[in-house]
């Protein structure tokens, strides 16, 4: 009995398995065309690929249409979630179920499939995460003066880079996916996941000639997103509240000193000022002190309750030689 082997077809990459994961939209317009567009690009470039469609509470008709596609197209997987979850949770489910060496997440309705091979090639060159940044040819005034500085500041606070143009269109290496799936936080953002892990990341910029959002609308959207990311991933705002509380405590202490000094120096004080001021200042001092202490505890609780591993290992290597201890004798 001999092992039957198959000839390797040429032309396409046959060493990588590329998974593309998309969350199905609620509206089903042109879905077949878009899925076919992705599969065409994948089939042209890779011998081994899969397209995982996550049905996140889409209408029943969507399921039927995808199953119809499955009858005639290869390597299509449909993962139906039990109800509609947030988009981030749906993407987490996709990452849990993809099997590829590289996993591409993208928005089925807007992201161009032609970019997939470019992103994957970049990732295969040594980056664990490649992010497609969709930029307008020219940035608006508000975006330049507000969004970019806010994102820069947030990046410094979080300790990893964030860009206002980042999208869901990105590639993750298997090593990164294996690390990301261990992060089970409910408030999760795809754009932060590699930041938390810390593997090598790069971005590929592409331009869209038409953007339906105005400059101000886009800035509002970006600011809301970055605030949410900051609050979900950092205790820095709580620390700020704590510092403010301590500062208020110090001001109250100073004011208490002022009250005592005035009561000693001045002979005539308005009736009731001393007792009222003392009571109010003491009470505020206590309140700010308690708030500061609470903020510190809540900040620690936030860190402790995040369902994240203590650390991630990028790789481990060992010596190529063994210790040469032949000269020593085992004699005491």
């Amino acid at each position: 009995m001999t092992v039957p082997t198959q000839p390797e077809p040429s032309g396409r990459n046959n060493s990588l398995l590329v998974s593309v994961a998309v969350v199905l939209p609620r509206q089903a317009a042109q879905i077949e065309e878009r899925i076919e567009g992705i599969v065409t690009v994948l089939a042209k470039n890779y011998e081994f690929y899969e397209l995982l469609l996550v049905d996140n509470g889409s209408p029943f008709v969507m399921q039927a249409r995808v199953q119809e596609l499955q009858r005639r197209m290869p390597n299509l997987r449909l993962l139906r979630l039990s109800r509609a979850y947030s988009r981030e949770v749906a993407i987490a489910a996709a990452l849990d179920h993809c099997i590829g060496d590289y996993v591409v997440t993208m928005d089925l309705t807007v992201d161009p499939p032609d970019l997939i091979p470019i992103l994957v090639t970049k990732a295969a060159a040594g980056f664990d995460a490649v992010v497609a940044e969709c930029q307008d040819r020219e940035k608006g005034l508000l975006e330049r003066t507000i969004s970019i500085p806010v994102y820069r500041m947030t990046s410094r606070v979080l300790g990893f880079p964030l860009h206002p143009d980042e999208s869901y269109f990105r590639v993750f290496s298997r090593r990164l996916v294996n690390s990301i799936v261990r992060i089970r936080s409910r408030n999760r953002y795809l754009s932060c996941l590699n930041g938390i892990v810390g593997f090598q990341q790069c971005s590929v910029v592409y331009h869209k000639d038409y953007n339906p959002l105005t400059d101000s609308a886009r800035v509002v959207k970006q600011l809301l997103a970055v605030t949410d990311i900051l609050v979900s991933n950092s205790a820095a705002p709580l620390r700020l509240a704590s510092i403010l509380g301590v500062t208020a405590c110090a001001a109250n202490v100073a004011y208490l000193g002022y009250i005592f000094a005035v009561s000693l120096i001045r002979r005539h004080l308005a009736e009731g000022w001393l007792t009222t001021s003392l009571t109010q200042t003491t009470m505020f001092l206590m309140v700010f002190l308690i708030l500061s202490i609470l903020s510190e505890y809540v900040a620690r609780l936030l860190d402790e309750t995040k369902e994240q591993p203590l650390y991630f290992v990028e790789f481990e290597t060992s010596s190529a030689v063994v210790a040469n201890e032949n000269t020593r004798l085992n004699i005491a």
């Binding site: 092992v3 082997t5 198959q6 849990d96 099997i99």
Partner: protein
């Protein structure tokens, strides 16, 4: 040595299909019906489904959702080991692991199922435990299950058939079965010849319905699928270990003794195409050459057992796998047995697991001895002890 052309034109029984079930049936019948002919369309016995499968000897662990299949596998296991001691590979550790998510049973339920079935579970040694990704595997167990060597099995069956005086016609395909003018069964051969028999058995596995159709008999509700068993070279740490991840869209890799490799099958990627006989007539191709899906199987398996990243694909076996339609949900694998199907003394047998052959022989009131030297008392003691 059996010849390739039948020596007579009338037999006590003609068995169409020289696979494991056909040969076992012949050996079972030969005491009562000495003139037996096996019609085999290939040049050798046990070439297709009996050869191209995972080579697992089931002890019941595989069927937590079909208790009867599990119980019968566990019951027949010691007897199969006794009959085919020289054909089974037992020198490896068989491990069943329960996936943390997407599994239809959890570790607790699986343990209870094994208790109920009476099959032992042992704790995994540390070096085996370390092979699994703990984020994806809830618990792993060492089980008592082995693999058979398909080549040795074929030799043993061929020897037993020859020893029993059973005639085999190789490269001979039955075209149809019909009732002759005198009431006896007639088998028309594809090359134009015709044979008579008191009994005819259809043991052609995936071709069961084809023979029924050509004989103008009703087709059975079957589902066929082209199944790929990938053959892989595993790293040394896995050489003596078989791993099966339960119970859902997972994989199994275990030694394939006939080639000295590991077989790799995956619930999602092993079936390439499937079709039912009732919906649309579609004869299965004789030698399907489909692009291998081993890359998919390996990638998914590597998530659960990271060391499989060092495994390499060495080739694939393709075969048409046939199951009863009603067992798609519970994954049970009963043997289909229809006596006097459409014609008197014409019977159909379709088996899925070779170790369950004793059930069908019992159902037709027969028994089988694969070797003249087999000592029944020894077997009985083993069977009782193992139970």
């Amino acid at each position: 040595m059996p010849g390739s052309t039948p020596n007579r034109d009338f037999y006590d029984a003609i068995i169409v299909g020289g696979g494991f079930f056909g040969c076992s049936l012949a050996l079972s019948l030969v005491k009562r019906q000495p003139r037996i002919l096996i019609l085999e369309r290939e040049a050798s016995l046990l070439t297709r489904a009996s050869m191209a499968n995972q080579a697992r000897v089931h002890n019941g662990y595989h069927y937590p959702r079909s208790l009867i299949t599990a119980l019968r596998s566990a019951y027949n296991y010691p007897r199969f080991l006794a009959d085919f001691e020289d054909c089974v590979e037992r020198s490896f550790t068989q491990v069943y692991a329960i996936a943390r998510s997407d599994s239809r049973v959890n570790a607790y339920q699986y343990r209870k199922f094994c208790e109920l079935t009476g099959i032992p579970l042992h704790p995994v040694p540390r070096h085996v435990q370390d092979l699994f990704n703990p984020a994806l595997i809830e618990e792993a167990f060492v089980v008592e299950e082995c693999a058979f060597n398909a080549l040795r099995l074929r030799d043993k069956l061929r020897h037993a058939v020859e020893e029993s005086g059973i005639e085999v016609a190789y490269d001979t395909e039955a075209h149809r079965v019909f009732q002759g003018p005198t009431g006896t069964l007639r088998v028309e051969l594809k090359d134009g010849g015709e044979l008579g028999a008191d009994h005819v058995w259809n043991c052609t596995y995936s071709q069961v319905n084809e023979l029924l159709s050509r004989s103008s008999l009703p087709r059975l509700p079957l589902k066929h699928e082209i199944a790929e068993v990938a053959l892989v070279r595993v790293p040394p740490q896995l050489e003596h270990i078989g791993i099966t991840v339960m119970d859902g869209p997972f994989f199994s890799t275990m030694p394939f003794p006939a080639l000295g490799l590991h077989s790799l099958t995956h619930v999602t990627y092993t079936p390439h195409e499937s079709w039912t006989d009732s919906s649309q007539h579609r004869p299965p191709p004789r030698a399907p050459q489909l692009p291998s899906r081993s890359a998919f199987m390996l990638r998914d398996a590597q998530r659960y057992v990271p060391i499989l990243q060092q495994a390499t694909h060495a080739g694939s076996l393709f075969q048409t796998k046939t199951v009863l339609l009603r067992n798609e949900v519970d994954d049970g694998r009963p043997i289909l047995c229809r006596r006097n199907y459409g014609l008197p003394n014409f019977s159909v047998i379709l088996g899925a697991k070779i170790d369950n052959v004793y059930d069908v022989l019992k159902a037709i009131d027969g028994d089988v001895r694969y070797s003249k030297s087999a000592d029944d008392r020894t077997y009985s003691a083993r069977a009782v002890g193992a139970q």
